[in-house]
């Protein structure tokens, strides 16, 4: 084994890590949006990812809807599911204790999983890559066109995300609710509506994550828990509530995971990200990018 070979291996693992990490980043953003609006961790976040992927597969392979149309339709369907979840399970709870709300999101995640299992069964579904699967070669390492799609879509979402929360009325009012709900209500912001929006957006981002990763991982009904958990890891490492932190942390987690798989053991790949989650949770619960002062106020 020579040096150039070692470098191309390293590069290969980094590509693999960025691809995985981008998905964690998207899931983590979804967690943060709902967390900011409600103070609750939505355990059903991973199921949005699965639903997005599976609906996309059905639309493209069974109904032969063109990819672009199917992309937006699947996202829309999952967004509607997110709104339904909020309207029927979060909104009606009058005295929302955190423990009760957490268990409600757990219940919804079991329910969504059960629905996915009844509709799609337990098979794993494969789907064609968006634009072929002929890899590009860069310094001896290869990268799939699909990976470029994933990175590109992540960048676009982050861009729109910043635009939305800084320059639109709804976005600004959602941010106001996140900072201080009572104060926001006093200045005339409908905080209950802000919660509904947060579920819609969060479900949409989750669905997109599912749609773009399905060609690579073969989606099945049961993938939600682990994807959600790793996304949560990214959210915690990046500082709960901090979405830009989540993106950075997601990619870092993905790359560490891939390097661990490449140089230590591929068997424990999934455990690596979780171990980092536990370590950060114990040593620095505010996350590597969050301020410890802000997190002391939070009480999820």
């Amino acid at each position: 084994m020579n040096h150039s070979n070692q470098f191309s291996d390293l590069l290969q693992f980094v590509f693999m890590g960025i691809q995985r990490g981008s998905i964690y980043a998207l899931v983590a953003m979804g967690f943060n949006i709902i967390y900011n609006a409600t103070g609750v961790i939505n355990f059903a976040q991973g199921e949005f990812v699965v639903l997005g992927g599976l609906i996309m597969v059905s639309m493209t392979t069974m109904l032969h809807v063109p990819i672009v149309v199917a992309f937006f339709l699947s996202t829309l369907v999952v967004m509607i599911a997110g709104v339904i979840m909020e309207r029927f399970t979060i909104n009606p709870v009058k005295e929302p204790g955190i423990l009760r709300l957490i268990i409600i999101t757990i219940a919804v995640s079991i329910l969504l999983k059960g629905i996915a299992m009844c509709i799609w069964g337990k098979d794993s579904y494969h789907m064609d890559h968006f634009s072929g699967d002929t890899p590009f070669e860069i310094f001896g390492a290869t990268i799939l066109p699909q990976t470029l799609w994933i990175i590109g879509i992540l960048v676009i979402i982050v861009f729109f995300f910043i635009l939305f929360f800084n320059h639109t009325m709804i976005g600004k009012s959602m941010r106001a609710c996140a900072i201080n709900r009572d104060a926001a209500r006093l200045v005339g912001i409908n905080d209950r509506l802000a919660v509904m929006y947060s579920f819609a957006i969060s479900a949409g981002i989750g669905a997109i994550a599912g749609i773009i990763i399905t060609p690579i991982i073969q989606m099945d009904y049961g993938r939600g828990a682990l994807l959600g958990l790793k996304g949560f890891g990214a959210a915690v490492v990046g500082g709960l509530g901090n979405s830009i932190g989540a993106v950075v942390a997601g990619i870092i987690l993905g790359v560490i995971e891939a390097l661990g798989a490449g140089y230590i053991s591929s068997h424990y790949m999934d455990a690596i990200a979780l171990l980092i989650l536990l370590i950060v949770l114990f040593l620095r619960p505010s996350g590597i990018m969050g301020s410890s002062e802000a997190s002391r106020l939070k009480d999820f």
Binding site: M1, N5, D9, Q12, F13, M16, R20, G121, K122, D123, S124, H126, D128, D133, P135, E137, T142, L144, I216, I217, Q218, A258, A261, G262, S266, H267, M269
Partner: protein, 383 residues
């Protein structure tokens, strides 16, 4: 008053009828089936269930077995060992079956063996690993119809030797089938002078084998053997293509469902594996004793289920017919069925079976045909 009388007559009529019915009709022959119909090994269990139901229907339409109807109790193990253990207990204790066919997977088969051994119910497994029936003195009640994994390894090594390849990498799933295959690959390597330069594994839930393949590439392997039974095995050829890693890829007989080929897409072309003749019926010569059975089963299956036949359905076909033949000859006493199975012969889809007290599989390495994939279809390898 009239009404009361009517009720009384009706009730007593039904009571008499229900008391008489068991004597009017012969009792059903109850056979249990353990298939992984859903879950990660659904591409094994589904064709197996379809096949078993098709045969049972045929038999019952033709009047059953010696006047007894054949009743199947089909349990879905979901490819999960714990569920398989519970389902086996249910079949034996609640449904009181006289024989069991399945499970579909090697791991689940190994898990239920202690139960059937203790309860003394014959079991014909539809799974590949040889350890299911070896050592035979500890497997008194266990038989299996798929070809042996050691024979599969031998056919692969024969082919590699003919190609002049000695340095090979192996990659296997961490399932019962994968682990058993990995052991066989390593055990038989010496005999053939094979040099295993890389030995990697993956779990059935893995979605990316890039890391393992990069390691195998760095080891200098000249060919790769991939041994697994679950859909994850289709990711290996895909990842190889993505890495532009171009060495011959061999698969085990666990690749024998066209759905695995579809999941791998164009990357599957050129894969070589030893498989049953059922996958390439048309290219089997007419004087082969299996030809008629293969053609009849394939045509019936494909016409009825509008789906391509797979070797796994074939294993269920062979297993169920062995049980049916035994039921015909000795009735539904489990011990008698077991003794009869040990002397059975059958021209089946997996090969020509000759069971004996020392061989609970009854097949040799000629049951395999070397198969390759061309444009997404199975064809017999010519060279």
């Amino acid at each position: 008053m009239n009404r009361k009388l009517f009720c009384f007559t009706a009730v007593s009529f039904f009571m008499v009828m229900s008391a008489l019915t068991p004597h009017l009709f012969a009792e059903d022959y109850k056979v249990g089936c353990l298939f992984s119909i859903t879950g990660s090994a659904s591409w094994l269990g589904e064709p197996e269930r379809n096949t078993a139901e098709m045969i049972a229907e045929e038999i019952n339409k033709a009047g059953g077995i010696n006047g007894h109807k054949l009743k199947l109790y089909i349990e879905d193990t979901q490819g999960d060992n714990t569920r398989a253990v519970n389902a086996t207990k249910k079949l034996i204790k609640k449904d009181k079956v006289c024989a069991i066919i399945g499970p579909s997977r090697s791991g689940t088969s190994m898990a239920v063996i202690p139960i059937v051994q203790a309860e003394q119910i014959p079991l014909i497994s539809c799974a590949g690993a040889e350890v299911i029936v070896e050592p035979v003195q500890e497997r008194k009640w266990v038989f299996k119809t798929p070809q042996k994994d050691s024979d599969c390894v031998k056919r692969i090594y024969d082919h590699l030797t003919a190609k002049g390849i000695k340095d090979i990498g192996i990659i296997s799933g961490t399932t019962g089938f994968g682990t058993a295959g990995r052991d066989q690959l390593k055990a038989i390597a010496k005999e053939y002078g094979m040099n295993i330069v890389a030995d990697e594994t993956y779990s059935p839930a893995d979605t990316d084998m890039t890391a393992q393949l990069v390691k195998i590439r760095n080891s200098g392997a000249k060919a790769l053997v991939n041994w697994s039974i679950v859909p994850a095995q289709s990711i290996v050829p895909k990842n190889m293509k993505q890495l532009k890693f171009d060495i011959p890829l061999y698969q085990s007989h666990g690749f024998g469902n066209v759905k695995y080929v579809e999941a791998a897409g164009p990357a599957a072309d050129g894969i070589i594996f030893p498989g049953g003749r059922l996958l390439c019926v048309d290219s089997v010569s007419d004087d082969n004793p299996q030809k008629a059975v293969l053609k009849q089963y394939r045509d019936a299956y494909e016409a009825r289920f509008k789906d391509k036949v797979s070797t796994f359905g074939g294993h269920a076909y062979d297993s169920l017919w062995l049980v049916i033949n035994a039921l015909k000859a000795v009735g539904d006493d489990p011990a008698k069925i077991r003794d009869y199975l040990e002397t059975s012969t059958l021209v089946g889809t997996g090969g020509v079976f000759k069971f004996s007290p020392t061989d609970h599989n009854g097949l040799d390495k000629n049951a395999f045909e070397m198969i390759t994939i061309k444009n997404g279809e199975f064809v017999v390898l010519k060279d």
